[in-house]
Structures are given as C-alpha cells and as structure tokens.
Amino acid sequence: MFTSSDMRRSFPAAVGPSELAVVLSGVSICYRMPSERISTLKEQVIRRITGRSVKYNEFWALRQVTLKVRRGEAIGLIGSNGAGKSTLLKTIARVLRPTEGRVWVRGSVSPMIELGAGFHPELTGRENIFINGAMLGFSRRQMQEKFDSIVEFSELSAFIDAPLRTYSSGMIARLGFAVASDVDPDILIIDEALSVGDEAFQRKCLARMKEFRDRGVTIFYVTHALDSISMLCPRAAWLEGGRIRYMGPTDEVVQAYRHSIEVESDISLADTQKLQIVKVPGRAQQKRE
C-alpha cells in the first residue's frame, strides 16, 4: 500500500512547511495480548524450562491510517465503539507509539483524553495545578503566568488552597479541564471531555473551544453527539475497524455514518442482542472496493 518513497515524500522536512500540524503516514497500532497473562518472572522461567510457548492474540486497533491535518483545522472523529478513535487520539498525543508507520506532530499538544491525570488528593488545588501543568510539559514560568486565569476559569478560587480530597468530583473535573485548556496549546485533543460539570460550565467549555478554533489551534474532537460536531468541526473522519472509512465535510461524513448505522440496525433487528458482534470490519472494506 505504501512504498518507502511515498512515505518520505509525504513528510515535511525537519524545518518543513509550517502549515502542517499533524501527519500520520501508514500508522498501525497493534495490541499484542498474551492469551494467558504471564505476570511473574517465576512463571516465565518455568515456561522457558518446560518449553511451553505463549500464544499471543493480536488486535490491530489502527490499520494503515494516513492523515494530514493543517494548522488551525478542526477535525471531528466519529465511529462506533472500538473503531479506533481513542487509539488515534492517543497516537497523536504520543501516549501510544505506532507499531508501523510514522507520526509527525508539530506543536505542543494538550490532551483532554482523561482530565486531571496525576492529581493527588492530599495536595491542594494550587499544588495540583502546577503538577498537572508540569505533566503536560510546561515550565514553571509558563505555569506561573497561567495560574490566575486557570483558577478564574475553574471558578474554584475559594477552595484553591484546600486539599483535593475535599473537592467534589465535578470540581475536580473542572480543575482538570481548566488546566488542560488554559495552557495555550497548538493542538487540542478532546475525547468527549465536554461532559464535565453542570450545564453552565459545559457551555463555557464549548465557548472556549470555539475560541481556540478561531485563534488557530488545531483541534481533534471525538464525540458520539453527531449533532454538535458540525458546530465545531468543518471536517470529519469516520473510523471503522481501525481504518478511516470516509473523510470529508462533516455533514457528508455524518450522513454516511448515520446511513450505515441504519442499515446495520436493520440487519440486527432480528437479533438485537448481537448488535455489537454484527459490526464486522471486513464488510466495510468490501463495500469500498
């Protein structure tokens, strides 16, 4: 599918064209899971001695995904559960390394995949803001500059010196969102993080994301809310079975996806319980070819 010269050409040089933010080229991610989990050295040694080998189940969460995103673009990602949306986000956020292919990302990435990673209950809101910011790769100076606006956005200034264990889960989520979104990223990765806090706060979050988009931040947005996606993203990609099945203007992509769901649910009406199993990735391929 990909020749090596193709790969090279599709990549910007080190100083490359500044309009590109993210380039994925033939990216595949394989989860290699042992059919029986070996978690101790003892078991491993015994297995070596007795000569029994371990079988591995391979699961390709992404297959040969190629994607070019320009700076300031907002891309929506849709698809059923297990289609590879989160895996794609995690690949861009460098959490997962590609098994095959190449990932190239220009700029700082703010992953709102899981908010408040590394928050510690014994530390105060203030201390947690600094730790969380540091985990996102920011320096002390950057965090000192951002601190006030983070607190202001989170609306938690009254509790900022109280330990996090005294916060409600909604407050923690708000703090996490405030840190992750207030760090002036070049690329914003959102995995339905909008579902934090009460409705007023959700509206505030959406407003902030629009503000980001208008400011030229590149956005990847995963959602199941097909109606809200076009508000933020002019372009969308539909993932199925680890492949990009269709990419284009959001309305077209959403329509095509909706259509496929309807077709699928017609089939599975006979046996609603097997709804999940009916979705075979191979089918999508046949249709395309």
Partner: protein, 281 residues
C-alpha cells in the same frame, strides 16, 4: 512564516515517532524538557509523606536521626567490632546504603504507582525513576546534617576532606539510578521482581562491610570487596569523614567505572522497553 500565531517566541516542539528509534538520546532530551515535572514530583513526594503529620517537615530530619540512634544502640552494645568511631562509621555507611536501598525500591514503586498516568498522557517514563532517586537523594541530604552533628559530637574533627563525601554520594546516586532503571523496567513485566529484589538486597547488605569491618571477612570474600561498588562508595565516604583521607586512584577509578557503567546499561535497557509500559499497567 507570517502566520497569525507568530507571537510565540520559540518554534513549537516537534514530535516525530521516527526519532524514537534512537531513544537513548531522545529520552535524555525529554527528561531535561520535563525538569519542572521532575522537581514537582520530588516535592510532591516529600509533601505527601509529611503533610498530615503535625510536626511536618521536622520528620525529614528526625526520622534518620532516630534510625541512627536505634542502630547505634543495637550495634555498639550488642555487637562489638574493633572500629574507630564505630557509631560514626556505622551511621555513615547506613546513610549511603539507605540512599541506594530506598532509591532502588522507590524506583519500582514509583513506576508501578504512576504507570497508570502513562496510559493517559505522555510523560517520559524515566521521570518516575528519576524522581524516586531524587527523593532518596533529598532524604540523604537532610540526614547529612544530623549525621555531621553526631560526628562532631563523637570527637571527630572537621576537615576539608569532608567535602569529598559528595563524590561517593554522587557515585552512589548514579549507581542507584542505573539499577533503579533496571528493576523498574523489570517490574513493569514481572510482578514478583519486588520480592526477589528484597531477598537480593538483604543478602547484598550482609555481604557488604557496613556494620562490621572489612578485616573480619574471610579471604576470598575480602579481596572481592574491592569490586563491590556499594562497599567502595561507603568506604571512601567514611574514610573521608573519619580518617580525613581520600581513596586511592585505583579504587576511585573502579567506583567511577561501575557507577557510570551501571547508569549507562540501565538507561539502555529502560529506554529500549519503555514503549511497552503503556500496555502493562
């Protein structure tokens, strides 16, 4: 280049997954880039440990002091070895040993405890080992003050050779970092490494002349001690304090070689497998 967001002072960082093919150097750069996080993790460790106790940070000093007191009573009353300033020698040795033992144990705990973070966002994984070693080093430095007070109290005069203490401390830190990286990498794949390591650690403790003098060891063991890194670090640490003398070039060379070698090997092993951690935790 004339983009709207030109207000940034620096060009943005670039992540290229192909650069991961030489993780040996890449991970060093990343660790430097995340130094603010490293600092935060070390401070967090101290804060969390002492936050809820009423005397707080005094524990950092008091803890080693009390441990020293117990050790001194037990070993100078129960075992009687013919060593000058036995209490000082014992405490000095224990300090350096604790730096190593705490550091490597915390390396495993730190990676295991923070491994879940690696699934949520990107941080250089070696930072958790580095912070564990950093915390052990901070504890060592805090314990140094009461140790020196005790040393003076025992009648050992201060000397410029005391400054040399920092060299074996640094070498022990490098050695611990290297070994910490190895055991942390192992524990990501095998849960029982922690138990296995405890056994090896206590065997190593008793094989190293810390609470007994080198001369009590029988011959094949005694000459082997010149290649025992922890003994070399501890010995040069103690002689600098008690005897006001520096180690010979030969011993120093062996110490430096083992410390840097271990760090290098640990770094190579760790960076080679770190991409798989995310699937393990």
């Amino acid at each position: 280049m004339n983009h709207a967001r030109g207000m940034r002072e620096k060009s943005p960082p670039i992540y290229d997954s192909n650069a991961l093919r030489i993780p040996l150097i890449y991970e060093v750069q990343e660790l430097v880039r995340y130094r603010f996080l490293l600092w935060n993790l070390i401070v967090k460790d101290l804060k969390v440990r002492y936050k809820r106790s009423s005397i707080g940070f005094i524990w950092v000093m008091l803890n080693p002091l009390l441990t020293m007191a117990v050790l001194t009573v037990v070993f100078s009353q129960v075992f009687r070895f013919n060593l000058d300033y036995y209490a000082v020698q014992l405490l000095g040795g224990t300090l350096v040993w604790n730096l190593y033992a705490q550091g490597t144990n915390a390396s495993m705990a730190s990676l295991q405890g923070n491994g879940i973070i690696l699934r949520k966002l990107y941080v250089p994984p070696s930072i958790f080992v580095a912070s564990a070693i950093g915390s052990a080093l901070v504890n060592f430095v805090f314990a140094l003050a009461p140790f020196l007070v005790l040393t003076l109290f025992n009648g050992v005069y201060p000397s410029f050779t005391w400054l040399f203490m920092l060299v074996p401390a640094l070498l022990a830190t490098m050695f611990s970092f290297g070994l910490g990286l190895i055991v942390a990498a192992l524990i990501a794949f095998f849960n029982d490494i922690f138990e296995i390591y405890q056994v090896l650690l206590s065997a190593y403790y008793f094989l190293t002349p810390i609470f007994y003098p080198l001369s009590t060891l029988p011959e094949p063991l005694r000459s082997m001690e010149q290649y025992n890194p922890m003994f070399l670090f501890i010995d040069s640490f103690r002689t600098a304090v008690v005897y006001h003398s520096l180690p010979g070039l030969h011993e120093l060379l062996i110490s430096v070689t083992i410390a840097t070698g271990t760090l290098l090997v640990g770094w190579m092993i760790f960076t080679r497998v770190e991409g798989k951690f995310v699937y393990q935790f």
